[in-house]
Amino acid sequence: MSYQASAAGEHYRFGDLKSLLAKASPPRSGDQLAGIAAQTATQRVAAQMALAELPLRAFLDEPLIPYESDEVTRLIIDTHDAAAFAPIRHLTVGEFRDWLLGPLATGEALAALAPGVTPEMAAAVSKLMRVQDLILVTSRIRVVTRFRTTVGLPGRLSTRLQPNHPTDDLRGIMAATLDGLMLASGDAVIGINPASDNVAGVVALLQMLDHLRELYQMPVQCCVLAHLTTQLEALRRGAPVDLLFQSIAGTELANTSFGVNLALLDEAWHAGLELRRGTVGDNVMYFETGQGSALSANAHAQVDQQTCEARAYAVARRFRPMLVNTVVGFIGPEYLYDGKQIVRAGLEDHFCGKLLGLPMGCDVCYTNHAEADQDDMDVLLTLLGAAGVNYIMGVPGADDVMLGYQSTSFHDALYIRSLLGLRPAPEFEAWLARFQAELPSAVAQLEAGGLTGVGG
């Protein structure tokens, strides 16, 4: 089926639904790289006009990637909740935008709606929304998850403490962890990206973090972001696994390129649940995503990168995750060219994730080959704070010395909390009040080898 619209006296035709979505996407380098972006600015608006007239039901009738060939499509269609969809089933995409901005879209109504919204509907409506629309709607949605802390409550903003080290040096990682804790970071998770994906190393890192957690009775959850199969092997060897992490994408083929599928994710989810290590809840999964990952794996099936990204959230919500964040600027300028594209993409991802019922955080970040700098990150951070983002990253000095990119610093989190009157997760906040004074003495212990088993 084809779609058409007239704009400024010209008639435009779009061959199929994915082409319509791609042409209606706000400009980004990844869609240009894929050769699916609008050719002119006017064509883009014409596509948005045609998209605005499209009934939401069309996304149920015409899957962008065939049901038969993609397990993510099957997941989306098979788990769609028709009853939840009822309040909006008669709307077009344009009317859905108006509905979202209107008085009926309360926090409660949006939470009830989530299982009835497909990723494609979320992506489509976001393409018609300006930055302020994305922020306003998202600010009404709270998604609360629990493990040892409660993340996502109103008036709260959490952080993932990310104490990476280029060679996984235990004392280096511990030094960054202590620095973060002293600056009130880590209530979403203490999560290390290991430099080497090997089981023994992952076990050692998990044991070190768990030892610290028990020593100071910290209400935090820990995670080592190795490949899921490596974490599962560490779990089988008895390592203290709190959250299980995996990078995921929005097509079956892209997930294959990550070495995962729904069955493996399901196995990991159940393995995590069986450990029963959470104290205030049992959300055990942690996912990262990012626009462009499907294209980067040549697995995008001609679907635009923002819609692919939203489809990844369908994968995530299957497993009731504790944390989901887009790593928005990590992928580089081939996919998001500059600060402007990164800012918009971060807000779209946060919106689509929350609309689908996910506990969205954002790694507000950029690489050194992108046309972006700290000012762009300050803009995105401030907008996400206003939109009610669940968590951001806490990286020492914003400089990840292992992954080689810039994220948000412990100080950035203090800035946004102070600006908007936001506080850490309640369990963590209470712990900080009791224990923050003791933390400097931990530095002395670090030197003596007390925290890492590495002395001298």
Partner: protein
Amino acid sequence: MKLLSDFTLARVGLQRAGNSLATREVLAFQLAHAQARDAVASTMDVRSFALECEQRGWLVEQLASAAGDQPTHLRRPDLGRRLATESRNRLLPRDSSLDLAIVVAGGLSALAVQRHAVRLLDELIPRIDDAGWTRSAVCVIERGRVAIGDEAGQLLHASLALVLIGERPGLSSPDSLGAYLTWNPAPMRTDAERNCISNIRPEGLSYREAAHRIFNLLAASRQRQLTGVALKEDFAVLPEK
């Protein structure tokens, strides 16, 4: 008493102004960012690289990717993953097979390749030769991405491809070298089918340690006939038959 900053290169224990960073810290960060931006813009001196290799008695094959200049290379990763037609033709007529193709590509930091690739190979090539494996010339591709090793490796009839590549510069590491191993290289291999050893530079993973780990992975890969997520680095390597 030591400071936190004695334990890591990460920016810990920073000076504050209120909750914000003090001027000194902000400027230090801006300088590091400026250096990283300059590293991204750097280009490779292929002639001097080839000369260094030849001085060590290694054959060198100078190839080009389909990315004709640096801006194209940055914006079009698809072109950086493909050989230019002329380079492909140069590799084409071949009937003998090899154990290992060695590809050196500029990636996102020509600086890293210029500084570290030859020194890493100084540690690695003797071990490969001692093991009796057949290897290709050192194929150097200025504006290449990781996956260009798939095409080169396939054309060379190599059972394994090793790509040494400049990683995208971090603030504290404008010159970090990465090593990617791919069993049975061919276009359309996915990243899950590769193993990676990252951050090779004196301040990170030393040449000797990196060569040791790369060699172990190569040996394990030859035994198991695969690379990627199924090949964990800590698998024991059995003695070669």
